[in-house]
Symmetry: C2
Subunit: 345 residues, 2 copies
Amino acid sequence: MVSERSLAVLHAIVSDYVASNEPVGSKAIVDRHSFGVSAATIRNDMALLEEDELIAQTHTSSGRIPTDKGYRLYVDTLARIRPLTAAQRAAIERFLGESTDLEDVMARTVRLLAQLTNQVAVAQYPSLRRTVVRHIDLVALGEDRVLSVLILGSGVVEQQVAWLPASRVTDAWVHGLRQRIADAAVGSDVESAAAGVTELESTVEEWAQPDEIELVRRVLTVVSEQLQANRNERIAVAGAANLSRPGGEFAGSLPVVLEAIEEQVTLLRLFGELVHDGRDVSASIGRENEPYGLSQTSIIASNYEDGAAISKLGVLGPLRMDYASNIATVRAVARYLNRFLGEER
Amino acid sequence: MVSERSLAVLHAIVSDYVASNEPVGSKAIVDRHSFGVSAATIRNDMALLEEDELIAQTHTSSGRIPTDKGYRLYVDTLARIRPLTAAQRAAIERFLGESTDLEDVMARTVRLLAQLTNQVAVAQYPSLRRTVVRHIDLVALGEDRVLSVLILGSGVVEQQVAWLPASRVTDAWVHGLRQRIADAAVGSDVESAAAGVTELESTVEEWAQPDEIELVRRVLTVVSEQLQANRNERIAVAGAANLSRPGGEFAGSLPVVLEAIEEQVTLLRLFGELVHDGRDVSASIGRENEPYGLSQTSIIASNYEDGAAISKLGVLGPLRMDYASNIATVRAVARYLNRFLGEER
DNA sequence: CTTGGCACTCATATGGAACGAGTGCCAAGC
DNA sequence: GCTTGGCACTCGTTCCATATGAGTGCCAAG
């Protein structure tokens, strides 16, 4: 266990290092912070911190920089979360207030978060399992293609094309089928609707013409897929340009990070594994992200509620980032998004 | 005017430099290419090329590298476009063949192009002005919100929410309005449909209840917007990770490039200004992109037809890129996309 | 436990010398 | 008139040796 003052020294090292990007020495600490002790005393504390692997030196006789473990302890012992400035709050309000549909809300949210933190911002789309199905449409796009359009509460639209090879699709046929599906699905939430459609699928023989059964099945399969497609597995990203900030933070790992952003799958897994032990904001620091090749990266994320399910949003940046400020910002944006989505439905 | 052999020397310099990323000297040229002349002769040619500002030296006595102007002449005098290998063609076929809706086609196209060229790939969404309107839906999302869904040929769906503050939206009302709009718009192409809706807007007083006119107007405005929204102004991007390839190509300009990719507006303008003088593939090299801050970047683009209108797709990369191969690939992918979209409709 | 002092380490900066790739130019050759 | 071999010259790169200074660890005294 580290002493009270040692912890204060760690905090000083982290914040100085984040600000200057240079190893910080004992003298610099007594100069910039008002500990009531001399540099030699600080040096003793630093020796202890180094023993605990909370800080390290770049070479035998240089100042110290925090290790992953040091950052971790720093984050865990951050006393209070700085509230945002009035200007920042206003910016959030203004930015989100103008948005129209969900797509737009997500895009604005990540852009905002990226701008406020100067990091890469990521947000998971809300899960829609508990959302009500408002409307279902089947539209013939030609003789062999039918477009299925699903309209969910809060204005989300899913579309998908069903191919019905070598068939003669007529408007009347499509219309009748639509009616049946709508009866089974519209009005209930997505999960129940999926069950309804499955039910319909299993009784196809009872109500469809024998020569149409195959076609009907295809359409129902597509609708089922749409209902089961988990929106939660989409993410919005913004601020990739922040990766190339001066400082060469991501020396070798920039390609890995860019790939992760493009892949999305990696980010989703990473987000999924984040543990929120009591706190509303969680962090994953450096080597904790090793399994994803992102050991030079830290992630700060917060849950945001979304009716029944929970989704996440956060930022991704270099190990050396302003954790205090980023945690505050992520939390604030998540709260606004919460409130905003709450109003919506 | 440069002589025949000088031009050949330029080609040698470009291809060697692209391959090695090092200034190429006269000796290296005679070694690697079978000109029937000595190094001294090559040096004379190089002096001429330098006079014409087609090549330059990094310092007084080093090998030469091509200038922007040199790359330009090189591209303009590329004799024949290398055809793709069978494997590459197969990859294209396979990759595009699996796609479902337009969104998916575009995503696959850029991913493919990025992978084949190792550059950032960009594609403009097809313009839909000549596409037929298949279907229009209005769905009440609550008492004060109506979702308008527009279904176009080839399975494109546009949605937008209309807010009708302080009103009591009923299903019956929405249904009636939908019918009217559908009569005016469904079946004709997007441009005519827009005209039809505008017509409807101007005669609102004649058929709507006085106290509903304001609400009807709002809905019609939203539908109009949807019809006029130009899909052509959306782009798909992939392969950003290729920017961080070793070689430090984008030393200082990486942030600019990343921003351009995220902004999209810049890329759209850039694409819009590309001139195709007779060729099916065009290039914009280095300083030619100065106005957009992308003077360290080259762009290779091709038109792809899309019924009436024309859209573009291409790649963006460092000045020092394999123009010959990239031009061939962009052209091939554009052709496949052409064919694919042709089959669709 | 704190503090001043001191020897020690090591990254960085500076400068000079050797090296070598590549050029420009010239006079001779085809 | 174009081509060629030769040669002096330039200049970036590498290597080494030295000087500097920031920062440490340790110790003995307060």
